[in-house]
Symmetry: C2
DNA sequence: TTGTATGCGTTATCAT
DNA sequence: ATGATAACGCATACAA
């Protein structure tokens, strides 16, 4: 109701309650002082950038010291109730918000970690996120979450802005350790499932090799020999699944070579078409190991389309152990990874990083979870 | 390797590289200066509380100004590479970590919003979270995520600690507006799907009524009349689904009453047993409307167990439009809600709240998504 | 009860 | 290339 028109001091701050800024319907910069008057010379400006409303602003308008405002805001006892009420009114009207930085500087208590994932909706990550949140919550830490939306180019910018706001960062990254380094500016970093070693950052690793081996041996034990594999592009560990598959196959003298490994897109559709290609090339194939559960489910849908009975005609093994694997019928046999635990491990690494250590990589091994597609 | 034994200044800071603190395996307080010497009088103390290692500490040890250290840490160009290397070495050895509070104080403010969800793993929420992250990211805001783990008692404590750290809070809450108020202490709050009106907080609402109506009408159009409903306990809108169901049923003179509504636990198991109960009570039932997709999928699994053909013998309609509904065979017909959009709307409300408005509730209507269980 | 003066750790400006 | 100085917003000890 009241346009900005009151007495403005050299600081650009309004001096009287009756002249305080209008606080209704004014757009984003409302919580900031944007009086249209610069500080030094009183010249009008049209810049949108305002100043944050501070304790002192409230104090000035309320006609008390900033100290009294602090007391009022924090509900200290040594203050006249009437004064407090008046101060709080002004604070509300000025839309004052305490700065967490100003506070944190004086009472450095709350640890905040940044959490970076490629995609919140991919059913793999929510469990990981849950593990991080849980482990962080147990320490009374807070978690700033960010998603790259599967866009590696966002990663670095994200990291830079996150880095300024948090005490440490954990997450999945498609860049290497070294590429990441300049963007975190000294903020401790935990790289999950990132492949290589690092001399500066902490790592949490998944023993993919153990997993693939377990899955393949399971198929072999079930009597399968003509086994195909659906692999996918992956930023980290580019060839681990494929190589392990081929190694184990050779060791067991399976009638299988590189031509039994097809590369698919990392999606259900990718899994489906990869299965079709595999089946077309090897009609006698009786088992498939998939890059992950999403891809495996896609492959499963292809079996339905093609009229291939699972597991009778073709067995299927996924990777990750997503709970959605239970929804298909028969439920998906998979190499299960405790994604929640993965998140906990990442937070543990943060803990040690903040303690000044550079801990050795934490390694988590998946294990076979036999459901019904084998 | 080097115990703390070197020359200590009146500030308790070590003066020479050769006397720097041991930085291996010393526990959490390592990143802090705990020289055992107090600042003022040089008296030894045994307190564990040390001082944080600051830029100035690094500067002193490296023999440069704190400004130069800042340049080195942040990789600014105006610095001699040799100096930078030396400074970084010292910083690492002293376990220096930048203070996000110090930084935040100086750098342009970043708006941070708190996001509270009951459960990150429930497939409903990741999409909502993604919407919030996306909308927030578009404004260059950051998101602090927290989960109540379906425990309402955690909610208030969570809110109180979050409130200190963020500029606004959005989320799902099981407490009422009024119960929440004291815990957020003036921090703008957006309540999603919370039922009642609020005079102090912003709301995002789902038009459940429209959804239920659409689902039921769809079943009626398909010729179903003996239709059951699986309802669930819900903190918000306790009876909307049930009441709407009964109203529409009456309006269309369906041979259906309260006894066709069973209350189940909000889970797949709950959906399954609810379906069994419904089917036992009404063997001639040809259609079911479920509280949500999770419950509907549970009901679907019960149909398999009971040998009930879907949709031939019994049609099934879910609610929420989760993508996992596509995994069952036939895929689940559902009342689809754009959960991502819900997150965006919540962030929009924050925007207006920060602008000083108290916006009217934002309402999102679900729409029927016919897949194949009807 | 209220006000004044410091200092928290960092970055920016401006000097050298 | 480097350093001195000045903010930033807040809480606290201390003075009035």
């Amino acid at each position: 109701m009241h346009p900005v028109n009151g007495n403005v001091t050299a600081n650009g701050i309004l001096t009287h309650l009756s002249d305080r800024v209008n606080y209704e319907n004014r757009g984003r910069e409302l919580a900031w002082l944007s009086s249209g008057v610069t500080e030094k010379d009183g010249t009008a400006t049209s810049t949108r950038a305002g100043r944050r409303v501070t304790l002192r602003d409230v104090a000035r308008v309320a006609g008390v010291s900033h100290q009294t405002v602090s007391r009022a805001i924090n509900g200290k006892s040594e203050i006249d109730p009437e004064t407090q009420r008046r101060v709080l009114d002004v604070a509300r009207e000025l839309r004052y918000r305490p700065s967490r930085f100003g506070r944190g500087l004086v009472q450095p208590d709350v640890v905040t970690i940044g959490l970076v994932v490629p995609d919140v909706v991919n059913p793999f990550y929510p469990e990981f996120v849950a593990g991080v949140i849980q482990a962080a919550g147990g320490r009374d830490w807070q978690v700033v979450i960010a998603s790259t939306e599967n866009d590696p180019s966002r990663e670095l910018a994200l990291l830079r802005s996150l880095g300024r706001q948090v005490d440490a960062i954990v997450g999945y990254f498609s860049h290497t350790d070294d590429e990441l380094e300049p963007y975190v500016a000294g903020v401790p970093l935990v790289i999950v499932d990132g492949g290589l070693d690092s001399t500066t950052h902490a790592l949490v690793r998944v023993d993919t090799q153990v997993g693939v081996r377990a899955g393949l041996l399971h198929l072999i034990e079930r009597g399968h020999r003509r086994i195909g594999m659906i692999d996918c592009f992956s930023t980290c560990d580019p060839l681990v699944r494929r190589q392990t598959f081929l190694d184990v196959a050779r060791a067991h003298r399976l009638p299988v070579d590189e031509r039994w490994v097809v590369l698919g897109e990392q999606s259900m559709a990718g899994g489906a078409s990869a299965f079709e290609a595999l089946r077309a090339a090897h009609p006698d194939m009786t088992g498939v190991l998939a890059f992950n559960d999403i891809v495996a489910i896609g492959a499963f849908q292809a079996t339905r389309k093609l009229g291939v009975a699972v597991p009778a005609e073709c067995a299927l093994v996924g990777f990750d152990g997503l709970s959605i694997g239970e929804l298909i019928d028969p439920p998906l046999t998979t190499i299960h990874l405790d994604k929640r635990r993965l998140g906990e491990l990442a937070v543990n690494q943060v803990d040690r990083l903040l303690a000044g250590e550079l801990p050795p990589p934490a390694v988590l091994s998946p294990h076979l979870l036999v459901r019904a597609t084998t």
